[in-house]
Amino acid sequence: MSFLSNLINGISLGSVYAIIALGYTMVYGIAKMLNFAHGDVIMIGCYAVFMTMSRQGWPPLLSVAFAVVVCTALGMIIEKIAYKPLRRATPLAVLITAIGVSYFLQNSALLIFGADTKSFTSVVAVPPIKLAGGALTIPGTAIVTVAVCLVIMVALTLFIKKTKAGQAMLAVSEDKDAAQLMGININGTISLTFAIGSGLAAIAGVLFCSTYPSLTPYTGSMPGIKAFTAAVFGGIGSVPGALLGGILLGVIEILGRAYISSQLSDAIVFAVLIIVLLVKPTGILGKKVSEKV
């Protein structure tokens, strides 16, 4: 029974990673950059919920909606100010800028909200399900997290396949210049990608903090890095890859902690990353891209 509950915890954690990984994978696919600050957008989203729901007493759903708006705007502003001017710069410059933005968000939060841990009230009010005569409890947050993750995956896939904007995103990720020649608004499309990714980050953050109820300015950085690992694991640029990579990583992390060593769980996750890159650098569902001079 404890194996089953660990597995459920793993899938729940993995679903959160999957939603965060979507943000990485979409941005990477289109802007060809690792948006290091993505994890910290999550943290800002959590603070947005905390400030409105716990301090001002807003209803949970309204708070979450507010957080999504805040993060979407934040994502677009970051892109506009920090990344857009560097679109033709070396990857190194873009990456350093992204690290700078990540640090900027963390330290701004540190100054505004303080370093002390805040206890995050869960936004999920679904009661736990008890199975097998109470021996197996599935927490309400786990049910909601997995459900939300699946809904987002389906919606996003439909969006990319069925809408014009989604097709434009695909085109830009294939070939930026050709897409521009076809009359696609490159800046608009990239901006839209950041907006969607950041909006999803807010949702992921709320789910993460509902399961692991503590909030500090550094809350976002570890899940962010692990979600990136998940994105690479599943194959960067691929939406189903993010789902698969996220869930696998979450399960590995929780099972590793339960059955190998609770102190080495992070080391195990990162070792998985290194092994994946060694064996199949494009990830499980990724496709090989040939480089041009």
């Binding site: 990477y28 950059m33 690792l34 920090a82 001017p85 560097l86 033709r88 710069a89 070396t90 990857p91 190194l92 410059a93 873009v94 990456l95 350093i96 800028t97 690290i99 700078g100 933005v101 990540s102 640090y103 900027f104 963390q106 330290n107 701004s108 540190l110 100054l111 950085s221 890095i225 990136f228 690992t229 690479v232 060593s261 102190q263 080495l264 992070d266 080391a267 990162f270 070792a271 990353l273 290194i274 890159l277 060694l278 650098p281 480089e291 001079v293």
Partner: protein, 350 residues
């Protein structure tokens, strides 16, 4: 004299002059305890920054795990000096042995990590070096090594029992305790000079030019027959080794060394990256100056410590935008001092 040679001599000269000034201040009693305490950390950060600059500036790969190499150097160096502290009584000799082992271990880690990873593109290297740093920190925190009359005892994860008079080498999260204080400002400066000597020689050699060719265009470098993996590995290993040397210096300046997120974590790697970026990517002299200034300033302005990391982050973003944004490039071309006063050399016009 060649321009590069002169340039290098200026850097060496600068280090020596600062060293002499500091010695003079200490001798005349004009140096506060706070400043004296900061001298060795300054050297440590300068050395690690030199190492990272080789990786970022010349290899063109971003590593955000150099604190991990520092950690390897610090722990392996300290273990050796603890083991030998009774047989080798000469402090300098003991430090040199520890330094050699620490540097070698860090180089070995750099080499092993480099083999799989350097085949990948930039962003992957960054994330894997980060992963490496975290793994090292994680493992050292659960590593127990002790020595007693029964010989050595190792354990991962579970604390072990050793005899009463036994010697703890690494005691899990408690790290290494009672390390002989071997580091000094003089040793630090000598290490800086050696690191500078190594990197300057490397970048001006045939290998160095090959490394830069790979940085500038990997595919064309490959097409003229440069062995990509070999040169990348060479630069990365040397860079890791220098960071390891910094770690040895770091460990022997403290009586206890533990692997916490604050000293060997991600934050430390970023701080060193800030030194490199602020000092100028590719400029070793700049790295040293930035490391020294940025170690000094927060201590002198202790009240500002809350804002320190915020300021660093803004500096990072601003430097990148200033150097790379097309609009800023135009602006600089129109208003630069160079354009008005000096002749444009090929290097500066770049």
């Amino acid at each position: 004299m060649k321009k590069t040679t002169r340039d290098h001599l200026i850097t060496f000269g600068l280090v020596v002059v600062v060293y002499l000034i500091v010695q003079l201040l200490i001798a005349t009693g004009n140096m506060s305890s706070l400043m004296q305490g900061l001298l060795v950390p300054m050297c440590t950060y300068s050395i690690v920054a030199i190492g990272l600059n080789l990786c970022v500036g010349y290899l063109g790969e971003l590593s955000i795990g150099h604190a991990g190499f520092m950690c390897v150097g610090a722990f392996s160096g300290a273990v050796v000096s603890k083991l030998l502290s009774e047989t080798v009584t000469n402090g300098i000799l003991l430090f040199v042995i520890a330094l050699a082992v620490g540097t070698l271990m860090a180089a070995l880690c750099g080499f092993l990590i480099g083999i799989p990873v350097l085949r990948l593109r930039g962003d992957y290297l960054a994330i894997v070096t980060l992963a490496f740093g975290e793994i090292i920190k994680n493992i050292i925190n659960v590593l127990y090594i002790g020595k007693d009359s029964q010989g050595f005892h190792f354990s991962l994860s579970n604390p072990i029992e050793i005899e009463e008079e036994g010697l703890w080498l690494i005691n899990g999260a408690k790290g290494i305790a009672k390390i002989t204080h071997l580091s000094s400002f003089t040793i630090g400066v000598v290490l800086i000079l050696i690191s500078l000597f190594v990197v300057y020689n490397l970048v001006n050699s045939r290998s160095g030019r090959a490394i830069m060719a790979i940085r500038d265009n990997r595919i064309s470098a490959e097409s003229v027959g440069i062995n990509i993996t070999k040169y990348k590995l060479m630069a990365f290993t040397i860079s890791a080794a220098i960071a390891g040397a910094g770690g040895v210096l770091y460990a022997h300046n403290l009586s206890t060394v533990t692997a916490t997120p604050a000293n060997f974590g991600y934050n430390m790697s970023i701080m060193i990256l800030v030194f490199v970026v602020l000092g100028g990517i590719g400029s070793f002299r700049g790295s040293i100056i930035a490391a020294v200034l940025l170690t000094l300033l927060p201590e002198l302005l202790r009240g500002l410590s809350d804002y320190r990391m915020l300021i660093y982050s803004i500096v990072l973003i601003a430097m990148m935008l200033f150097n790379w944004s097309p609009r800023m490039k135009d602006f600089r071309a129109a208003h630069s001092l160079k354009g008005r006063f000096g002749k444009k050399t090929a290097k500066e016009a770049e």
